[in-house]
């Protein structure tokens, strides 16, 4: 009965590679988000989609591209991975603007 799920949970890869992280929510929410949490636990929004439309696009390198095939899924593709991309990436969803439900996170390590 997982509400927001992400795959994979851990991702270890070499610099320069391309990788994707998948997110699915079964809460019926209209809005989904991607956040990046750095090593100091600072959580920062990257993107937000509402009903498959991009509504928030923070200052993120264009190597990061979100894709929402339907309102229950929001995937994150990262091209040409860099050392500084190492972080925990969280997906979240919400129906209203107040409470967001977070997934378990994907721990990305770039070597």
């Amino acid at each position: 009965d997982t509400a927001v799920s992400q795959t994979p949970k851990y991702l270890v890869t070499q610099m320069g590679n391309d990788k994707s992280i998948k997110c699915e929510q079964n809460l019926g929410h209209d809005t989904m988000y991607w956040y990046k949490q750095d090593s100091k636990k600072f959580l920062k929004i990257m993107f937000s989609y509402n009903n498959k439309e991009l509504i928030i696009n923070e200052t993120v390198p264009n190597r990061f591209s979100p894709k929402s095939p339907d309102k229950a899924h929001l995937n994150l593709h990262i091209n040409s991975l860099e050392l500084g991309d190492s972080a925990v990436y969280f997906c979240a969803s919400s129906q209203t603007w107040d409470e967001q439900f977070f997934g378990p996170g994907t721990r990305l390590t770039v070597l």
């Binding site: 636990k41 929004i45 937000s48």
Partner: protein, 111 residues
């Protein structure tokens, strides 16, 4: 300067103590204030939410907002080892409804 400032700690208290956490902010457009709790290697989960100045209680937790001073607090009474987690303050601007997080304070309650 970050829009939301939060002392990352860490904070270590004995079981039964009162835990006091706080955040300051600079953006006057922040109108909605939340506290999220994040256990190690998990996603954040909403603990408390308020939008007005004053106090809000929920069991052992009290959230306090002082909009005139741009200062919010979270108090945990009779703290338990199970309260050991990182506590993140978060705020939503009435302009864009984006969630802005503080850096998080890591709390350890010693048995």
């Amino acid at each position: 300067q970050k829009e939301v400032e939060q002392d990352p700690g860490p904070l270590s208290v004995p079981e039964g103590a009162i835990v006091s956490l706080n955040c300051t902010y600079s953006n006057s457009a922040f109108q909605y204030f939340m506290w999220y709790r994040q256990y190690s290697r998990k996603g954040p989960e909403l603990l408390m939410y308020t939008y007005s100045s004053g106090n809000k209680e929920d069991g052992r937790f009290t959230a306090q907002v002082d909009k005139s001073s741009k200062y919010i607090s979270l108090f945990i009474r009779d703290s338990q080892p199970s309260d050991s987690a990182t506590y993140l303050c978060a705020m939503i601007s009435s302009n864009d409804y984006k969630l802005s997080f503080g850096a998080g304070t890591t709390v350890t309650v010693r048995a």
